[in-house]
Amino acid sequence: MDDRLDLGALFLHFLALWFVAVGGPSAILPDIHRYVVEAHQLLTNREFAEIYTLAQVAPGPNVMYVTLIGWHLAGWAGAAATTIPLLVPATTLTLLVGHLNERYPNAAIFRAVRSGLMPITIGLMFASATILMRAVNHDWRGYVVTLLTAALVLRKSWNPLWLLGAGALAGVAGLV
């Protein structure tokens, strides 16, 4: 679609990124933006933001914005070029570690890693939750909605899809 687009280079860049993406997709978002918007000018800033938003509205992991970037650039081949790299660490390193962890569940090193790092993981996720809460809320009403949601989910077993649907409608109606 674009003369400047080199799918092989795009594939290799995303592949390299995923191997350093310890800490998850949000850790590599700035670099993907730098690559496709600034360095190679494949997308404008506005297109990047719109594609990212569309993918966030879709069900599934938030990381699927990378698929949409590839699709927008070069159709099915582009979608494959940006999505397959995402799978590579999971199907090599994760399977290998999973295999060893299942085979030797009582090995001292796995026990120490699991119990030593679990608190750090939970602390980091709490950090993500509070950073997200501050990023999406601009006034006290937003914070009330977020905190009320957390309290409801902890106490009631309602299906939270209703809450998300209500949030989407409230957003379109300009209430939150």
């Binding site: 069900p59 938030n62 699927m64 902890l154 957003g171």
Partner: protein
């Protein structure tokens, strides 16, 4: 994982595929909440602690943490092919959905309503993530050391906003060493 635990069930590939398809197709605004709800609360395949442990491994490895968790769960219950069908269910549907959205975007552009709906949904999604983390924190032993490391990680990344790699690079070796010494 003590020896006394009951043997893990062996699940059919179809059951893994359907479960991860359901999880991913409900995952609006982040997949962590829905994975925990599906695997711990609805299916009861994992205890709270097992979920937190597999998530920790998934977080430690490169790539999206919930995708890695999906691989680990699929492998645990049905081996290599279990991991494959779990990933197919977890990523296959969203792949098709976002491409459908890509087609719509090429024809209509992004409507302002999409942005507004996302603004509303993201406030709810932040609450779902917060509730998930609070539930996960309940599995930490009521002792000083785990909570100290959890709080240090939170303060370093969430309050002081130091780079993730520095914080984890400083805390993780100490935490693993102390857990190894204490035989946790």
């Amino acid at each position: 994982m003590q020896q006394a635990e009951p043997p893990k069930p062996y699940l059919s590939l179809w059951e893994l595929f359907v479960t991860f398809s359901r999880i991913t197709l409900s995952s609006f605004g982040g997949a962590l909440f829905w994975s925990r709800r599906g695997l711990v609360e609805r299916k009861r395949w994992l205890s709270e602690r097992e979920f937190a442990e597999l998530l920790t491994l998934g977080q430690l490895l490169p790539g999206p943490n919930v995708l890695n968790l999906t691989v680990l769960v699929g492998y645990r219950f049905a081996g290599w092919s279990g991991a494959a069908v779990s990933v197919a269910g977890y990523l296959g549907w969203p792949f098709l959905v976002v491409i459908g959205m890509g087609l719509a975007y090429q024809h209509y552009g992004a409507l302002p309503e999409v942005q507004q709906a996302l603004a509303g949904m993201s406030k709810i999604a932040a609450g779902l993530l917060l509730a998930t983390v609070i539930k996960l924190a309940m599995v930490l032993p009521r002792r000083v050391r785990p909570w100290l490391f959890g709080i240090l990680a939170f303060v370093g990344v969430g309050v002081l906003r130091w780079p993730l790699l520095w914080v984890v690079g400083a805390l993780a070796p100490c935490a693993v060493f102390l857990a190894w010494r204490a035989k946790d």
